[in-house]
């Protein structure tokens, strides 16, 4: 057991300006499908993601959003390439994602291991 890899849950984090302690699954879906674009305090939401083939992104989509990654890709491609909206900002690594969340007002993202992250707001997802 000591040598088995530790399995972490996916944690939703935001920039401290978001000032939100919890979200429902549907609210999180609305945020990631770009249907809710402001926090309750009026701050614009800036959504960060990892590439769609990244295992953590795939896990996040299925477990937290209850969507398949291709469904989100389809929504984002449609928004981006039709002009009707913007897609989340994609970063290559978890470290880059954490850095972006810390430094961007209103940013939201996800991490696997909370113990490596400080100075962010952790959001609880209610079922």
């Amino acid at each position: 057991m000591l040598f088995s890899p530790q399995v972490y849950a996916i944690n939703i984090i935001s920039n401290i300006t978001a000032d939100t302690a919890s979200l429902s699954v549907n609210q999180l879906r609305r945020i990631y499908s770009m249907r809710q674009i402001h926090w309750k305090n009026g701050t614009p939401i800036v959504v960060y993601v990892l590439p769609s083939k990244n295992p953590l992104h795939q896990k996040f989509c299925k477990e937290q959003l209850r969507l398949f990654p291709y469904q989100l890709d389809r929504i984002w491609h449609k928004l981006t390439f039709s002009g009707y909206g913007v897609a989340p900002i994609e970063v290559a690594t978890q470290q880059a994602l954490i850095k972006a969340i810390k430094s961007t007002k209103g940013a939201i993202g996800y991490v696997e291991n909370l113990s490596e992250v400080t100075d962010v707001n952790v959001i609880k997802i209610d079922d």
Binding site: F81, Y84, I89
Partner: protein, 409 residues
């Protein structure tokens, strides 16, 4: 003959340089995009190149040879001016052979106004050149990785009408609602007109009509509904548009008015392995004049397509589609069409059917190859639609295959 041969050779020699230049431009833009993308400015794009061939038809080219005329390149940018306003634009270069005229296009250039929003409602207005967002794939018909196949269902997304149907100069509004009980509802409305160039006019009405075709204002509306946490989505749409043809001083044809109305209903299912989509439609196409001043034709056409895809593994998807279209629902075998044209237009121009199979493989999150084969029957979705060309399209049955690589960022 010799000149044509030289031109062909020159074109073939230039092609590798041309494709290299396109790919280099895309690479530079892609690298730059990674640097500039932030909460205000976003830059995205794509490049796709393929091989395509149509047998027994001039759908792609006149000599029915294997063609590289399957090029699609696009670059877009979006900038958030403040909390309420955003500007966005996209330019595309398209080359689809005879399907539509090759060249650069300003795909959209708009100002978005976020007029109202709360947790469940969003109301946004768009002004400028806006894309048609009303059918399942209308806003992504030229985006190789965001449409279902290389050749999309011609019964709905007829290439000959591409430049008119893709969008226009005007305004649009999108009203969205979502909650845990009702699900997601989107209402779209747009009003605008498309400028029709001489090249586009040739595709629609043919080269022998020397006058000018104009698109008057059109009006479109659609409603989409996804029940809460459902894998299904349903939609309906309606389009009403008119066109006028002004004859040239010396012309074989006459001043005319065309009316085109188009009503659709669609369903989409998105499962983990299976995907399903279908669109049913009815269209009304009225011709007043054109062939002679008192000419009047009022045809009601009907059609549908059913499409199923299955993920064989996380990167490989197989798909199949069945399409049917009758230009006149009361003349499904086209015999009346042949009679009314004195035998000049064969009966198979009264319908268009297609059965296709395709494969798609993802090399990564942003690099894909698609391949497909179509068994087509009939000529009702071959350009020019107003004056069919039975000499170039002398076969009821024809086939198309295509293979295309695509990269996006």
């Amino acid at each position: 003959m010799l000149t044509s041969l030289k031109l062909m050779i020159r074109r073939t020699r230039l092609l590798p340089y041309y494709i290299t230049a396109l790919c280099s431009l895309c690479l530079v833009a892609s690298l730059s995009a990674a640097e500039v993308n932030n909460e205000k400015l976003q830059v995205h794009g794509f490049v796709a190149q393929g091989l395509v061939n149509a047998n027994n038809s001039n759908y792609i080219n006149d000599d029915e040879s294997i063609s590289l005329e399957l090029t699609e390149v696009g670059l877009n940018a979006s900038y958030q001016l403040n909390n309420d306003f955003r500007i966005a634009g996209q330019a595309v270069y398209l080359n689809g052979g005879n399907r539509y005229h090759a060249g650069l296009r300003l795909d959209y250039l708009l100002l978005e106004w976020d007029a109202f929003h709360n947790d469940v409602w969003q109301a946004r207005f768009y002004f400028g050149r806006v894309k048609n967002n009303h059918w399942l794939y209308s806003s992504t018909r030229d985006i190789p990785f965001a449409r279902p196949s290389i050749i999309i269902p011609q019964v709905v997304y007829f290439d000959g009408f591409r430049d008119v149907a893709v969008g226009g100069d005007g305004a649009a509004v999108k009203l969205s609602y979502s909650d845990d009980v009702v699900g997601e509802i989107d209402f779209n409305f747009s009003r605008g007109k498309s400028a029709i160039s001489d090249e586009q006019s040739d595709v629609v009405i043919g080269k022998f009509a020397l006058g000018h075709l104009d698109h008057d204002l059109d009006m479109q509306a659609s409603v989409y509904w996804r029940p809460a946490f459902s894998s299904w989505r349903f939609g309906i749409s309606a389009l009403d548009s008119t066109f006028t043809y002004e004859r040239a001083q010396v012309d074989n044809f006459f001043d005319s008015d065309f009316v085109f109305q188009f009503y659709t209903a669609n369903a989409l299912y998105e499962g983990e392995f299976w995907q399903f989509s279908a669109e049913l439609f009815q269209e009304r196409f009225v011709t007043k004049g054109f062939y002679f001043p008192s000419f009047h034709r009022d045809d009601i056409g009907q059609g549908y397509y059913l499409q199923v895809s299955y993920k064989l593994d996380k990167n490989l998807t197989v798909m199949t589609r069945h399409e049917k279209f009758y230009a006149n629902k009361d003349d499904t075998n086209g015999l009346e069409l042949t009679q009314s044209t004195g035998g000049l237009v064969p009966s198979y121009f009264g319908f268009h059917h297609d059965n296709m199979i395709g494969l798609s493989y993802d090399f990564s999150s942003d690099f894909r190859i698609n391949a497909e084969f179509h068994w087509m029957e009939g000529g009702a979705r071959l350009s020019p639609i107003i004056q069919p060309d039975p000499i170039a399209n002398d076969s009821k049955n024809w086939q198309v295959w295509a293979i295309q690589f695509m990269y996006w960022f």
